[in-house]
């Protein structure tokens, strides 16, 4: 239980213009665990996830108050965003491989960091694909376009691409919502393997998925964290009436 705390947010508020999307979020996310965020659409879980690697910077009108401590350092302060994003990788809802070869997709991040050595890149690509359980399927077509892969393969490629950056944390924003059940099962399987090495934070719409794969679960509602705790506790013995209503399917 004495795991190191990776992310610690203190009284985090987020506004889109005048609209307050996150209200005083206080969460501690532990290292090398899978933490799931659940909640109905528009509750702020994706917004919160995107705070963790500062992807909200891309949106003009966003204003953030409060602290997000990553290994004790406030990431909203004066830090190197590029460096943060190499340490905190992200996998998106819709698979978004770049329109280049499979190899180039994975080598992209390291190359942007200045890695040029061909043998090192080759090794990194292979290792990342093996870790993402995709190597066997694509090893003969590394130079083919990534757009030719199936949806599930594309998503695992995106995971491999993130792994190639050797991050500490992997953020996943509903990574299986665009996939069929078999591809979903493969990704879930992969996540449980990856948590040995990485801290994984996943936003999901599927409560079953949260129940299957996560160690801790946070239930978001209307921009607030209603309840946060060990997944089995949340699902079997929720403290809050609203959590119980949601997970038993009474709304959402």
């Amino acid at each position: 239980m004495d795991k190191k705390i990776k992310f610690n947010t203190k009284n985090l508020d987020l506004f889109y213009g005048d609209f307050q999307a996150l209200k005083s979020i206080n969460l501690e996310i532990c290292e090398k665990e899978v933490t799931a965020f659940i909640g109905p659409s528009g509750c702020g879980k994706s917004t919160f996830l995107r705070c963790l690697n500062r992807m909200n910077d891309l949106i003009e009108s966003v204003r953030i108050e409060g602290e997000i401590l990553f290994d004790g350092q406030d990431i909203n302060g004066d830090i190197d965003v590029i460096n943060l994003r190499t340490r905190v990788g992200m996998v998106f809802q819709k698979p978004n491989p770049f329109p280049m070869s499979i190899y180039e997709n994975i080598a992209y991040g390291p190359k942007c960091q200045g890695l040029k050595d061909k043998t090192q890149l080759d090794k990194l690509v292979k290792e990342s694909l093996i870790k993402a359980a995709l190597w066997e399927e694509v090893k003969d077509r590394l130079n083919k376009s990534a757009l030719g892969l199936s949806g599930g393969q594309q998503q695992r490629l995106c995971i491999a691409r993130t792994i190639a950056m050797q991050p500490e944390v992997i953020l996943m924003d509903e990574p299986t919502s665009a996939l069929d059940p078999i591809a979903t099962a493969k990704i879930e399987d992969l996540m449980s393997k990856l948590k040995k090495d990485y801290t994984i934070i996943i936003v999901t719409h599927s409560m079953q998925q949260a129940g299957r794969i996560s160690d801790k679960t946070a239930f978001f509602l209307m921009g607030e964290v209603v309840e946060y705790g060990e997944t089995p506790v949340i699902f079997t013995n929720p403290a809050d009436k609203r959590t119980e209503d949601y997970i038993t399917g009474r709304f959402g």
Binding site: T86, G89, C112
Partner: protein, 401 residues
């Protein structure tokens, strides 16, 4: 019932409009081809527009003929648009070439002249020098006018041949390199396309990148966009006047290839900016997010992911631009001039095919020749379009699966 009648009426108008458009197009292209095709041949494409008169210094050296008389008679490299053979040919040993007498007939003039009809492989004519000592070669269908100061005017073919044979020293021959072609205009046109694209495309692409990726949407960006739209609607003669006042006079670039291509580049900019902007906008945000989430900088994202995705759109801009440069006449008339020559440097003038067609039609009243140039223009536009289409297909990242 009433609705059906209305429908048919509307349909009729649609078909009629399409029919009129199509027939006008076919009529115009047909007109140009019918009028001009008679003048288009190999000579037309490979010769300079103007005749060139110069003195050639040739060694006096006997070279015997390697083909028989019958074969010599078959060698008639005359420009059959204007020349017809009346006498000859006769082979002259000491220049290693055959000469013939032809009638030259153009719009206003008609006269007889001596032309070279055949040249031996090791003839001294292939290794002559001009008055500055520069090496040059005399080709077939060149007209010869005098030798060592004696004019051929009024001599029969035999007398002329004898005159050449009787020379003992080095030969100084006055020759006329035949004109009537558009080689220089074709080359000027290609130069102009290349140079103006080289100037306008990077500027346009970087401008479009600024507008879509960097500038905060608001009044400033809208103003730039509005300005670009206005620019694309201004008639090119205005740009021509500006180019003449600014590039030609103020910057002292003279009437030249460079002034012309800078002026045309300004005309192209709005088109390139607009189409590149549209192309950049269609690149999904998810690619940008994916790249940034991998720790790439904004610039890396733009150049490695966004721009390659926009290539098909940029290729469209290039296509439109090529058409625009090739078709430009007013602006180039004022900034690049009407001299039919291959521009030797960036600061030499040269006329593109379109300017030449304008010049020929307006100044010489030679519609057939203008139409012949028109055919060349149409072919060049089609070829360049096909080439850039092929190139954009090759570069299209979404095409490779």
């Amino acid at each position: 019932m009433g609705r059906k009648v209305k429908d048919n009426f509307a349909k009729g108008i649609i078909y009629l409009a399409t029919g009129i458009t199509l027939s006008v197009l076919i009529f115009i292209v047909g007109f140009i081809f019918v009028k001009g095709i008679g003048l288009v041949n190999f000579d037309f494409l490979t010769r300079d527009f103007n005749e060139k008169v110069f003195y050639a210094f040739v060694q006096n050296e006997d070279v015997s003929m390697s083909i028989d008389e019958e074969a010599l008679k078959q060698k008639t490299p005359f420009d059959d648009r204007y020349e017809s053979l009346i006498e000859g040919p006769i082979y002259v040993d000491n220049i290693g070439a055959a000469i013939a007498k032809v009638t030259y007939k153009n719009n206003a003039t008609e006269h007889e002249q001596l032309v070279i009809s055949y040249i031996e492989k090791n003839s001294p004519l292939t290794n002559a020098a001009d008055s500055t000592g520069k090496e040059m070669r005399i080709g077939t269908d060149y007209v010869i006018q005098s030798i060592n100061g004696t004019d051929f005017e009024g001599l029969s073919l035999d007398e002329a041949a004898a005159l050449i044979k009787n020379q003992s020293d080095e030969l100084k021959i006055k020759v006329v390199q035949p004109g009537g072609g558009v080689k220089s205009n074709i080359i000027t046109t290609l130069y102009m396309v290349l140079l103006s694209l080289v100037i306008a495309i990077p500027l346009g692409i970087f401008g479009a990148i600024y507008l879509t990726e960097y500038a905060k949407p608001g009044r400033f960006v809208n103003t730039i966009r509005f300005a670009a739209e206005c620019l694309s609607g201004i008639p090119s003669i205005i740009f021509g006047l500006f180019g003449m006042a600014f590039f030609v006079v103020a910057l002292k670039l003279q009437i030249s290839l460079l002034s012309g291509s800078l002026t045309v580049a300004i005309i192209l900019l709005p088109v390139i900016i607009r189409s590149t902007e549209e192309a950049l906008k269609t690149v999904p945000t998810s690619f940008r997010e994916g790249s940034l989430a991998l720790g790439a900088t904004k610039l890396q994202t733009i150049f490695k992911v966004v721009l390659p995705c926009a290539v098909p759109g940029i290729a469209t801009a290039v296509l439109l631009s090529i058409g625009r440069v090739v078709g430009e006449s007013a602006a180039l008339l004022l900034t690049a001039g009407t001299v039919a020559q291959i521009p030797g440097t960036l600061l030499s003038p040269g006329s593109t095919l379109t300017v030449q067609a304008y010049y020929v039609a307006k100044e010489e009243g030679n519609i057939e020749l203008a139409c012949a140039i028109g055919i060349v223009i149409i072919v060049i536009v089609i070829v360049l379009n096909i080439l850039s289409r092929i190139m954009s297909d090759k570069l299209d990242v979404f095409n490779k699966k």
